[in-house]
Symmetry: D3
Subunit: 239 residues, 6 copies
């Protein structure tokens, strides 16, 4: 099967991560995965939410799409007076994924909010947000170390994410919007630097899928995530 943009089944879209895109945020980047563009900023504050134990820090994420990120304009959340349930679900995923590598004690009593704002969306916005959000977070931590606020890096390793799916019964890596629209199965993986899973989410949108298919998709994701983590390492360096 020929992919719509001529990629091999196990090939990522061209990825670019531009660090330091925002001059005010402690850490930031613009991540472009094909035509999906997400602006990620990490903001440090010297307080933590009430549920965080004394002596520990907190990392959370917010996700939103600009109204015209997509083919059709969507109303803003505030016009509907409710956070889009899809955004609610995605920002919970991003937060969990990033916290999986955070040493909360090493971070100390501060919180970092990673904002992922989708400027343009062409599939895979949640996984691009995890991958770019990690870079913004790591750059913010680096800054805290350079300023002497932190003594050690509060991150235990890398985190990146990618999607894979089954289109026309063929497993494909990193679906773009058009592929995603006709996918039978859609599966996202978040992995650490050793290829272990931090999060897996798979849905049989067009049909149920076998355990073997599920495994093939995870393997594809593993391959893509390795490549993404090389790009992260070029910017963030060794942790």
């Amino acid at each position: 099967m020929e992919r719509i943009d001529g990629r091999r089944p196990d090939q990522l879209r061209p990825v670019e991560i531009i660090p330091g895109i925002n001059r005010f945020a402690e850490g930031s980047c613009l991540i472009r995965c094909g035509n999906t563009h997400v602006l990620c900023t990490a903001s440090v504050e010297d307080r933590t939410p009430p549920h965080v134990p004394e002596g520990e820090g907190w990392v959370t994420a917010e996700y939103s799409m600009l109204p015209r990120a997509n083919r059709e304009r969507s109303k803003r959340d505030i016009a509907k007076l409710k956070l889009s349930p899809r955004s609610a679900e995605i920002q919970r995923l991003i937060g969990r994924a990033l916290r999986a590598v955070v040493d909360r004690k090493a971070l100390g009593e501060r919180s970092i909010t990673v904002d992922c704002d989708v400027l343009q969306g062409d599939g895979g916005t949640r996984t691009a947000s995890v991958t770019g959000g990690f870079v913004a977070l790591a750059l913010a931590c680096r800054k805290l170390m350079e300023e002497g606020v932190l003594e050690q890096m509060p991150l235990r390793g890398y985190v990146a994410a990618v999607s894979a799916g089954i289109v026309g019964d063929t497993p494909l890596l990193d679906l773009c919007y058009e592929e995603d629209s006709s996918a039978q199965v859609d599966l996202n993986c978040v992995m650490d630097g050793s290829g272990r899973l931090i999060e897996i989410q798979g849905t049989g949108e067009g049909r149920p899928f076998t355990i073997e298919e599920q495994r093939a998709l995870v393997d594809l994701c593993g391959k893509g995530i390795q490549e993404l983590q090389k790009l992260q390492a070029d910017i963030v360096g060794v942790l």
Copy 2:
């Protein structure tokens, strides 16, 4: 490792599904998985939301916890003027899971809303909601057939769900709240009547997990779901 309630690692909690618990709903049941109790009702309406193509039907779900379903009382959503993000995420999952077996054309231009209200929660409320929600949905469909509104069953098969997790490095089926609180990994599966996956969601809450661990958890879920579907069949009959 001894489980807190003496179960074997691959053993479900006692499950009970009481059909017809609500005299007004077209389909309903109370599902009890151990101390997790969820009231599920399926409500039929003769109209569909705007995004549904002409000639087709729609199935959606809503999920909520009563304020004192848990050890601590929580505020109602309306007191905070926002749907709990956790509820938003869960009701999207339930809706996707149920729609996976719905023949929308056979359902015709009507919608069925499956409400899952947790009366008491002790872990596994989202998977109990899928399993009980399916029963309520199937009973409502049966009723539509008995009334001559539908000629054929608009469900293509069974759907049930269960969780598994890793506690103290041991994979366990169907975590109760106390196990869930200390789980390193938590994974939910929704499967159809042939043991194929409809949805998989796994999170490394305490630590990342290997692909082998992920597979072991899916296998545990598969075993539990088979047992749950036998209970469903006793009530719903052959589809």
Copy 3:
């Protein structure tokens, strides 16, 4: 006039109060008045709202109907982003009724929230909520005494409530939904253990009513409330 369910004009529907229905709440019951089923829980918290004087406690109530409690499914409050005005009115009534017998100083600096969630509604949900809510409250107070948190019972007596109405110019006790729908007058009474009024609310929905009719309805309520308080006493004991 024959009543729809064959009751005498001054006869209550069959009433059942099942205590301890929720394993987490400090006090709880399920009250069934005919086909009206309300789950009542009492939750104790060690703080009081700002308007409560130092050294005193507070009791408040929340009331809600599950979406399919009625013949037609209703939208949840959160979907409309506003508390149903009817619920707002009813929960203020329940709170006032319960506080009428609370010794706030004896309760000490804690608050008890009584949640009344209607699982199924067939008329008289607000009065069933008062009657069942009192049982949940009293059981929570008993528990605080048994745990040694309180030295004396902070309740000065019983509270129960019932409705009466005029249907076809005949005064009837404890209207079910169908009677209520065609009632000319609807009146609710909350009374203490001595048959004194704590609250009276009457509305001429179909026509104005005379002072004599109003008195007859209060007398009917008084009779019903005496019976309800016997049921309460069986569970709660002497105060």
Copy 4:
């Protein structure tokens, strides 16, 4: 017992109703009951809400207090993003009271919204709103008749309301704020032009009350309402 403002127990505060206070509303008045001042407007619209049967009209009410109507400034509802539960309860009462004398078929397919905005509140704002709201409503109906829109008056009679209460064990008519603050019992009556009850609401705020006390309060209200209806008649004329 001497009343704070020297009134007899069965004496109303000085009442003044100024019709036509708003040049745009189809009907309007400013009602002053002592220091309680409520601006009432009746607005006619040529459409009815969805629940109203074809061929019939609708009358509804909204109630609100200006932020500095009281001794302390209150936040506006919109600042808290919720309608005050007290306002919700009161505007439901006003609407029911007015609808009790409306001939919905004679009104035809139009709706009248009666807005009661409390400019200054010193007790009895809900009953003043009913009494003043009726005048605004009646003036609007008169205008529709004068304009030839309606052929007959769609009101079947007068409606007025007043409160009574027990202070220091003495029943008093028309409590002002200071009396209301220390009242043991507070009771409101809405009555028609023949002294029949349309609505009764009584609360034992400080203590339960006997059926005899309840009757005495209703009698006091009946006396006050007769006087109020004379004032209404001076403005509105014979219906």
Copy 5:
């Protein structure tokens, strides 16, 4: 060009300011500019919002229209769950205008909220709110001085506002609603007691306007504001 109400181009509508209209507010007035009637109250509280530096006070304003202030009834903000954007804009203007003459240190750590509620609107409600709001604010400050709470007047001078506009290419002072509806240009000025600008807002609603036209409108406003400040001085006295 003949004006609709026969005024000269540079003539204000009849203006009346009635002080002390609300018995509870620390300062209040009813301002009537033609058929535009605004009730202004100033409420003092002994605390300041978080952004105010220690040792300083704060003055803010809220603006709202009663639902039937206009020719057509509008829904209340709370019914739409959002502050009208127009009200948001206007109350920010009123607040800025009043703060321009407040000596925040002299005011001390207290805040004054000026509520401007439009009882009837016929054009120029925002400028009437500034003019009347200043009177309410000044009266509240006077009261604080009389009570010995403040030693010196925390106001540095007068503030008043008026609109001017271009209708049929003719500059006119103080547009009423009908003039405003057909105005090509609408411009509001807020000025201090020396005729200096505190705020200017002009919009070419029907067409762009030249800098010369803009100057002519400001001159008209200056003339009107001088007259308004004489009325203010009669009530407020020398500052």
Copy 6:
């Protein structure tokens, strides 16, 4: 007085307008005025809001800041459940400014929403939004003409905006954030292609200002706007 970035008093910051930044929007640009970066998209829809007369079109604007556009992170509007009043005010200004040059009949029964999302803010975001928003709008109109949807350009001319202010008693063009923070007076102008005013908004934030000062600021704005319109013309061409 030396400006913080060495500019002359009448010198704009470096301005860059990058058209076509979003591949989905009918028109779009990224405008950079110094460190202020605003993403502007124009979205066409084939329907108009209810208040628009038949046969005419509508242009509206929405304005928002990303949470970390500023030195401090701000909460999103949806987290506070209310549109920021500042955003409400600004988007009304942008909408009015753009509509001033729209021929609504030539646009036909369609609406164009111009979204201005501030990626980074360093003063002058509202005027940059007008200037960039116009480019997005004009590009969308060009596209409608190229596609044959429109026969003539529905824009009557250019619109651009800039701010000027008084800092240390010196009038300066195009204030950056630091200048704005210490400005005594802040004034924004929107002008058409002939240098006529479409909108003027000036505030004496630190002190009142004379009519002469107001004129000097308008003159500065006029000079800056001429330069901005040259940049617009390079992209949009002759209208």
